[in-house]
């Protein structure tokens, strides 16, 4: 069973602010899911390579030539910004 403290630690790592009700709810639900996934411990996976990518065997990732191409451009990239200043995304002050 995950403790409330552990739930808070994970939420902080994930940059999620949880209400006390959410903390209790997730402690229970995540514990149930983790209990379920623990069935993987039944398997002997020694010597098994992890499947770290899903590409077809022998197929290398497709990398294009490293040449300059037109990008999105600052105006289009910034068009959906909640706040901006010139060609920069504006965020709350970090250093007082």
């Amino acid at each position: 069973m995950l403790s409330i403290e552990e739930v808070r630690r994970i939420a902080a790592l994930a940059r999620l602010e949880l209400s006390p009700e959410e903390e209790r709810l997730y402690a229970g639900q995540l514990s149930a899911i983790l209990d379920y996934v623990r069935q993987l411990e039944e398997l002997d996976v020694s010597g098994v390579e992890p499947m770290t990518h899903a590409l077809a065997a022998g197929e290398a990732p497709a990398l294009r030539a490293d040449e300059v191409r037109e990008g999105l451009g600052a105006e289009r990239a910034l068009a959906a910004a909640p706040a901006r200043q010139g060609t920069a995304f504006l965020v709350p002050r970090i250093i007082e």
Binding site: A14, E22, E59, A81, R93, I94
Partner: protein, 489 residues
């Protein structure tokens, strides 16, 4: 006129457009009227882009008048899941955190449909960030099954399946990370194809679990789905996981039947959890294949029982990383805050719904110091074992066949309070995602008691979508035309 048009499948409409018997404007108006008449009940669309659709249709008619039709999809009204970026058209991924977001570019799959001349009717409902199996996790509204409005259409591409079943669009695009095309296709009685990982570009598709996500079509018939797949498949240099293998020809051998095909029946997919009425229809489909000259071969996928467990470590781990980008800085929601950290946490707290939060928490935990080897790395090794099972099975058979889901569509609210029960709806579909293999759902009749659609799942060798589609078409032809749901009559 409108009802007759709506009764045509995509390829029949395409033929009528090519012959000049109907115009794209007539087809588009028929679809828009159908959406207007039915979507208040069904809820398949989050956004209908009627003006844009009318302009696209007018352009298609103008091309047709000049003798410059671009091909079979020119002028056909389609719609896409609201997970695909559409330039200048709001794209939300079903989440409040992206409400109002207008992307600066089209997803490659959308751009390819547009280039083929398709008319886009709007954006379809889904579970938030494609996380769910019932469409109930949409932050905006539920979507309902056109066969029975008290039931879910499945998910996460619930709107994509419901829109096809309700005859609001001639075809749609969805995405499938653990069954999100196949399960709703099965629940709504339509055809849904999840291609091989890497077959269709993921560029411009809001990312959920990058090593599992794949784009695919949903349509009324196998041939329609094949035509749509043909339009979107193929290498895209903007997606480094996009395969450089040339796309197959999905229509050339579609009618060649199932004679001589070896169909693998995994014994593990017919165990205790499978509802008897669903099993009866699936077994009946297998018997039809035998009648058509295919040979049934028993195969074993011994590790498939671990698929859900491996998936619920891998997918949330990747999701927790992908969803880190929603921080209130570059697009979407931003919570008022005094400092940066408070802005991140506040934005994410108010923008994400319960399921994304749950998966972000789970994934963050599985990747955190001290747990990575025990959870994430072990799951990746089990993924290898699951893929090996299929490789072995395909030594003895050409396609694997079984159920898509253990039950027919369940009722709204039925599984909402227990996430684990919801996850188990994908018990038969997740393996194909973990193994990166192509899979599809093809209707195989109605449940004998519940009168709801049942889908047969076919899984194939990597990049062998052509054989899968041919096998599905053979069954479809043998069964005859499927009944239409009440919302489409």
């Amino acid at each position: 006129m409108s009802a007759e048009l709506l009764a045509l499948d995509l390829r029949a409409l395409s033929g009528a457009l090519a012959a000049g018997r109907v115009s794209s404007r007539e087809a588009t108006e028929a679809a828009l009227s159908r959406i207007e008449a039915t979507d208040g009940r069904v809820g398949a669309f989050l956004r209908v882009t009627a003006e844009r659709a009318r302009a696209d249709a007018a352009a298609a008619d103008e091309r047709a008048a000049r003798g410059a039709r671009r091909g079979p999809l020119d002028g056909i009204p389609l719609a896409v899941k609201d997970l695909f970026l559409t330039e200048g058209v709001e794209t939300t991924a079903g989440s409040r955190i992206l409400e109002g977001y207008r992307p600066p570019y089209d997803a490659t799959a959308v751009a390819r449909l547009r280039a083929a001349g398709a008319v886009l009717l709007g954006k379809l409902n889904l579970d938030e960030f494609a996380m769910g199996s019932s469409n109930e996790n949409s932050a905006f509204k539920p979507c309902r099954n056109p066969w029975d409005l008290a039931r879910t259409p499945g998910g996460s591409s619930g709107g994509s399946a419901a829109a096809v079943a309700a005859r609001q669009a001639w075809g749609t695009l969805g995405t499938d990370t653990g069954g999100s095309i196949r399960e709703p296709a099965s629940f709504c009685g339509v055809v849904g194809v999840k291609p091989t990982y890497g077959r269709v570009s993921r560029y411009g598709v809001v990312a959920f679990a990058s090593s599992l996500d794949q784009v695919g079509p949903l349509a009324r018939t196998v041939g329609d789905a094949a035509l749509l797949l043909q339009a979107v498949a193929g290498h895209d240099e903007r997606d480094m996981t996009s395969s450089t293998l040339p796309a197959g020809d999905y229509l050339a051998r579609l009618e060649e039947g199932a004679a001589g095909l070896r169909i693998g029946v995994p014994r593990e997919w017919f165990g205790g959890g499978l509802e008897p009425g669903v099993e009866a229809r699936v077994r009946e489909a297998l018997a039809r294949y035998e009648k058509l000259g295919a040979r049934l071969v028993e195969v074993s996928l011994p590790h498939s029982r671990y698929a859900v467990a491996a998936y619920y470590l891998i997918a949330p781990a990747e999701a927790s990383s992908n969803l880190a980008r929603y921080d209130g800085v570059r697009y979407g929601l931003r919570a008022a805050a005094r400092g940066l950290g408070e802005m991140y946490a506040g934005t994410r707290a108010s923008g994400f719904g319960p399921e994304p939060k749950r998966r972000i928490m789970l994934g963050t935990y599985a990747l955190s110091a001290g747990y990575y080897d025990a959870y994430y790395l072990r799951a990746q090794k089990v993924r290898t074992l699951i893929r090996r099972d299929f490789d072995r099975a395909f030594e003895a058979c050409d396609v694997v066949a079984g159920p898509v889901a253990p039950t027919v569509a369940f009722r709204l609210g039925e599984k909402l309070s227990d996430p684990l029960q919801m996850y188990l709806a994908d018990v038969y579909t997740i393996s194909a995602n973990l193994a990166a293999l192509p899979g599809l759902s093809v209707p195989c009749g109605l449940h004998p008691a519940e009168r709801m659609p049942v889908g047969l799942q076919l899984v194939g060798r990597p990049f062998d979508e052509a054989t899968l589609l041919r096998a599905a078409r053979a069954l479809e032809r043998e069964q005859g035309p499927p009944p239409a749901p009440p919302e489409a009559r």
